[in-house]
């Protein structure tokens, strides 16, 4: 299913000027004819294209400051070339490698927990016979998705505060209170659980849709072959939702590096930097707080490139081994 989706989402490899080998269809119009015929359509694209040029592509070009000296008040693109100086600087910066490791650990933990859970929840929901109960569980579990990350962070803080619910439960079993948000050892658990709380329900939507599209005859056939419930799930249901799983996995891997920036910004503090500080928060402090724009831009460029490499390679591996890919 995702192969058709992506054929649609992503540009065709045989774009004009890209291939050249495919014979030009006889009815293909020249640019001049197309413009004359469709000029009104093209005018509708002008403002959106300006948007993409200014707010998406200009910042990409703006990354040249990673290789240039930036003077406050000077050009947005920096003032003179310094080559790879800033790249060398962060590669030799031990803090950078600390936050890099934190990013990988946190990203991996989030992936391991927050990727499979919606699948499990969707399978459980699918087994629920009572439609009314199913609707209630769905409506409730989608809700946190719509809350601002500020509200989620606020709820986490209240919930884990010294006088909060968790600590009163600990008190009830005779445990001393734990200051969760002040201890580096707790940060990852807090982050991943709050992420799970917010995303697990919403994450089931696509799986539930995929589940309803599985051909019921397959179950019938499996039953005739003597498959029990568990075997039906394993041999019919899971293969049925596999393309959805792979598509979402690839997309998750692509956002690995930029993980949870806003929530970490809200939840971390200098006491928990040793586990909570990630690449994006570090470059925020380096750039916006300390005004080392070029240095921070060099780190940011590195981060974006890794993201791109991750998604491209995840896609390639998936296409080679599983035959499903985004493009």
């Amino acid at each position: 299913m995702s192969s058709t989706k992506t054929a649609d989402l992503l540009p065709d490899a045989r774009s004009p000027g890209g291939g050249g080998t495919s014979p030009v269809p006889a009815r293909r119009r020249s640019w001049r004819q197309s413009l004359r015929r469709d000029w009104q359509l093209y005018t509708l694209a002008v403002v959106p294209l300006v948007f993409f040029a200014v707010f998406r592509y200009l910042p990409m070009i703006g990354n040249v400051i990673a290789f240039r000296q930036f003077e406050p008040g000077g050009s947005v693109f920096g003032d003179h070339w310094v080559g790879l100086e800033y790249i060398r600087m962060f590669l030799n910066d031990p803090t950078f490698w600390d936050v890099f490791t934190n990013t990988l650990v946190l990203g991996l933990l989030t992936l391991v927990v927050c990727f499979p859970m919606p699948i499990i929840l969707a399978l459980l929901l699918n087994e629920l016979r009572n439609r009314y109960a199913k609707r209630i569980v769905q409506s409730v579990s989608y809700l946190p998705h719509f809350l601002s990350v500020v509200i989620v962070a606020g709820i986490v803080m209240e919930f884990l505060a010294a006088d909060g619910s968790v600590n009163s439960a600990l008190h009830a079993v005779g445990h001393a209170p734990i200051l969760f948000l002040q201890q580096p050892g707790w940060f990852r658990s807090v982050y991943v659980s709050s992420e799970l709380w917010q995303t697990v329900g919403w994450g089931t939507i696509l799986y539930l849709a995929a589940l309803t599209s599985i051909d019921q005859d397959l179950y019938e056939a499996a039953r005739i072959d003597g498959a029990n419930r568990w075997q039906q799930t394993w041999h019919v249901t899971l293969p049925g939702i596999r393309p959805t799983m792979i598509t979402l996995l690839i997309l998750n891997i692509g956002t690995f590096m930029s993980i949870g920036f806003e929530k970490i910004m809200l939840l971390y503090n200098p006491l928990t930097y040793s586990t909570a500080d990630v690449v994006s928060t570090y470059l925020y402090r380096m750039g916006v707080v300390s005004n080392n724009f070029s240095y921070a831009a060099a780190i940011g460029l590195f981060e974006s490139l890794i993201g791109l490499v991750l998604i491209v390679s995840a896609n390639k591996i998936s296409r080679r081994t599983l035959g499903t890919s985004l493009w």
Binding site: P48, L128, G287, F293
Partner: protein
């Protein structure tokens, strides 16, 4: 499903019901807890005795926050940013999605590629920050609404929807001498109410919930959205003093001003949520319909 359920399956059904009930409880517990705290007295809160039901019922903090003019200014700002941002986003997204939905348009592949590439590679925080500052948009509404005017995900949802419309209608409109603009306005949009409602909600929620742009680009407190008001409260950047408390009220506020503000900020979302939830789900579905 046909067939007599086995004993193992019945056991599974019971476990399943229990697990799903726990999911519901775990999802709602923190929310109910916040509401309970917001209505509780400071003595009970500080002693960690508030769970699901308010104890020492108290609305002093609500009164104080609702009398705080900064809170209302910021709430108004959020509404303004949401309305303006959503309007701009809708117009731009609709126009571009309509263009992209024309399969025979020359250069369509390029136009799609321009948008989709930005999903996988972005300029990053620092160049964006320098650009917005360089354009002189700091401390204006534009620093919040323009950089997020088109969400590529929403764009693709809308494009899929337009692609699914019958082409005959538009061809008939063209034969009747309607221009492209006329066709879009009078034929296509009236038939797209469902997807427009979905897009409105997607954009409105994302503008309503956003805080980081404001945190980066706004320095004047009278421009802050309410999410930033809340953020400063939980980050301790502005204490209870700013709301004008004295004596015992100050202690009360210190105990639950965060819960109160969280509740007041969440109410609009909760109020519309039951009615609009299905539009969100349908939006995700349209986006994935090809998948």
């Amino acid at each position: 499903m046909v067939g007599r359920p086995t004993r193992g399956y019945r056991v599974f059904q019971v476990c399943n019901t229990i697990i799903l009930t726990l999911v519901v409880v775990a999802t709602l517990y923190p929310l109910v807890n916040i509401v309970a705290r917001s209505f509780s007295g400071e003595g009970y809160i500080n002693a960690g005795q508030v769970n699901l039901i308010p104890r020492g019922f108290n609305i002093k903090t609500y009164k104080a926050v609702l009398h705080d003019s900064t809170f209302w200014t910021d709430y108004g700002n959020t509404v303004l940013y949401t309305v303006v941002g959503t309007a701009i986003s809708l117009v731009l997204t609709t126009c571009y999605a309509y263009v992209l939905s024309k399969r025979n348009l020359r250069g369509r592949t390029f136009l799609v590629g321009v948008a989709v590439f930005t999903m996988f590679f972005s300029g990053g925080l620092i160049p964006n920050y320098l650009l917005i500052s360089g354009l002189g948009m700091r401390n204006t509404i534009w620093s919040l609404v323009l950089p997020n005017a088109i969400s590529v995900f929403n764009l693709l949802v809308m494009k899929s929807f337009f692609e699914g419309m019958p082409t005959e209608l538009e061809e008939a409109a063209a034969i009747d001498g309607l221009s492209t603009y006329g066709t879009l306005l009078r034929i296509v949009l009236p038939l797209s109410k469902a997807v427009i409602a979905t897009m409105t909600l997607f954009y409105a929620v994302s503008f309503w919930n956003s805080w980081f742009g404001a945190f980066l680009y706004l320095d004047r407190p009278n421009l802050f959205p309410v999410t930033l008001y809340l953020r400063n409260l939980i980050a301790g950047a502005s204490g209870t003093g700013s709301v004008g408390f004295t004596g015992s009220d100050a202690a009360q506020a210190a105990a639950n001003i965060q819960s109160v503000t969280i509740v007041l900020t969440t109410i609009p979302i909760l109020a519309v949520y039951p009615f609009v939830q299905r539009y969100f789900v349908s939006g995700v579905m349209i986006g994935a319909v090809k998948g």
